[in-house]
Amino acid sequence: MNRRRAYRSFVSYIDRSREYYAAQGYSQPYTWLQNQEVPFTPLRKLLTQCRVGLVTTAGREDIEGATYGLTREFYAMPANPAPTGLYTGHLFWDKEATHTDDLDSFLPLNRLAEFAAEGHIGSVSPRFYGAPTDYSQMRTMNEAAPQVLEWCRQDGIDAVLLPAL
């Protein structure tokens, strides 16, 4: 269906959140990183031979759930069986339009396991990794990212899907 609009259809979350937090009385707007350079690593094996991992921004029920999301701890958890749920209450998503009761809508552990069972990918990593969105970009870059990389290497991963809530 064709439609005509006087403005872009995609929501700009950078604009929207800046205005929202300003209305809440926060005087300094959040500043987002903008990178000119973007790295590129081609897949070095056939996908059917690759071990694929998953990283989520959601938190563990027992840790984030207990502290209302103040901990923002990164973690590795068994991928099989998939957890029944993860804590998302502290994250920035549209709690009026939708919900996160179905894990596979934001962390597709079961879908990925199906692709592995059907032979589309070599295997699923035995663990998935949590890197809850952190206000501090330094903490994400200097602590969360290197830790996730180390876990990926321990698990022999070739490729990673990173669904962001």
Binding site: Q34, T98, S105, L162
Partner: protein, 118 residues
């Protein structure tokens, strides 16, 4: 999440970010991005819609092999079904301006209390 993806990619892993906040991911700059134009919360498909989830995850897996340069964004063909969420999310107008200011006050109070307890 984009920062984690960049770090993994810089260190020899092939990555794909999946999400619905197009501006945030593309400003940060990632190697591969599967964009679904949904309200934030379900970047891998609507809850309980297994077929849609399979399609979106399959697109992400395909992109691992088929992107030949960084900043490759693919948009999946799905739409949410209505557009109400676009304007409603984090809306600021005269009907809620006062309530938002009050919420901000309460949030700052809660955060400073939590900090003291740490």
């Amino acid at each position: 999440m984009s920062l984690v993806a960049r770090h993994l990619e810089e260190n020899g892993l092939t990555t794909v970010v999946m999400g619905s906040a197009r501006d945030i991911v593309e400003e940060c700059g990632v190697t591969r991005f599967v964009f679904t134009d949904f309200p934030l919360g379900n970047p891998c498909g609507k809850p309980w819609d297994v077929e849609m989830q399979r399609s979106i995850v399959g697109t992400a897996l395909d992109l691992l092999t088929r992107a030949w340069m960084p900043r490759t964004t693919i948009q999946t063909p799905f739409s949410w079904g209505n557009d109400d969420w676009r304007d409603a999310f984090m809306r600021v107008d005269d009907s809620n301006r006062e309530a938002l200011a009050q919420e901000g006050e309460e949030r700052r109070r809660f955060q400073s209390e939590a900090k003291k307890q740490k």
